[in-house]
Symmetry: C2
Subunit: 210 residues, 2 copies
DNA sequence: TCTACTTTGTTGTCAATGACAACATTGGCT
DNA sequence: AGCCAATGTTGTCATTGACAACAAAGTAGA
């Protein structure tokens, strides 16, 4: 047993890493600052020097989660497929991340939802939408998709995939497989955006627009 | 000060009601069994006689939430509109509920997600999908929607609306209004299901089906 | 090198919490 | 009346998050 030096040196990183492990194993409720301190062989007061309080630690975990997720999404956009293929791959990347890190995803969004979330966290979390919006705008210019506000359509795709990701992560897809739901979702969305909204349908949605 | 009778009489109902209020005001993390007992003027040990532990109370809250939500959804299906109109109304009903009870919705699904959720809770929570599935099947038979497995398509609609509901409840829709996102989502989904998935698109999704 | 000063970690303490056990009261049933 | 299960109370315990006082270690300037 070599006795520990007074200074841990990389306490912040060690805490973050261990916190992510704990969250993935036991959920956010299973995270205890004191247990965390024990896990990394440090006194129960030490974490406070790096994270003001428990929420600050959770925020940091969420931020790290968004960063690694954004990386996966960006990678997915760079495949050589056609527009629709890239669209599907981005959706799959998102859902795959969710399925592999279900508890982390919950933390990421419940944290972003928190009333006093940091600017950085919100920006990092919104990056996925921008990717979708760019793809949709590009497809519209290419004539592959019908006209329509890219911002709203991107939001539609985002919320749909987010729902898929959350329910897939929680195992709420009952009978249907994750793979089936993701492809069906992206296919349906793409088909809907390609077809556009017929005028007959718009009638009931434009009542208040005058 | 009339001294309280020894028996509260309706403790369980009182606890449930107050718990729902607390959750909507302060989220699940703001719920404390002891504070709850204080709120209804009862000793800190009393709640244990009605709910084995804190999770059991939360489960009961979630179940009540699903029941009132299902009522709203069923009501929405009984409007006299055409098929597409009813579809949109169901979506709106779901999202409206989420926006009005954001914290409750979070509890409902994080509870259903819990590994040892009760059979009753899971069944009650899945009811919304069955409604969607019935509507889609009916529309397919009427020739309004293209063919496709109603179960999978219902799941697609459900996850999409679920995502909309969650993000709307959390205020994550950034620029776009809730109303816009809901109508755009239901419109896009319906258009996609009406158009069906072109064979050219299916090519990339049927690679593993042989 | 000596000396402030800051950062990082430790120890001690506090109120709040969830869970549990022992006990008290109530109302129903025979 | 007398038993008994359901309901509520009181007391207690370990755990937790937060805070304050203190200690050690690195850092920068004389």
């Amino acid at each position: 047993m070599t006795d520990q030096p007074y200074h841990h040196g990389k306490l912040r990183e060690a805490l973050l890493e261990r916190a992510m492990e704990t969250i993935e194993e036991a959920g956010v409720d299973g995270l205890s600052l004191r247990q965390l301190a024990r896990d990394v062989n440090v006194s129960h007061g030490a974490p406070a020097k790096h994270f003001r309080d428990k929420q600050a630690l959770i925020d940091a975990v969420a931020l790290a989660g968004f960063q690694s997720m954004n990386r996966l999404i960006r990678d997915a956009t760079q495949s050589g497929d056609d527009l629709r293929g890239r669209f599907v791959r981005v959706g799959k990347a998102y859902v795959d991340f969710a399925v592999e890190h279900p508890a982390l995803l919950t933390v990421m969004y419940s944290t972003k939802h928190h009333p006093d979330s940091s600017e950085e966290l919100r920006n990092t979390g919104a990056q996925g939408i921008h990717v979708a919006q760019a793809m949709i705008a590009e497809a519209q210019e290419a004539g592959v998709l019908a006209d329509g506000d890219p911002g709203t359509l991107a939001m539609v795709c985002f919320v749909s995939l987010h729902g898929t990701a959350l329910l897939a992560a929680g195992g709420h897809l009952d009978g249907t497989s994750v793979e089936d739901v993701v492809t069906a979702t992206t296919d349906t969305l793409w088909a809907g955006m390609a077809a556009g909204v017929p005028a007959a349908q718009l009638a009931s949605t434009t009542q208040l627009s005058s």
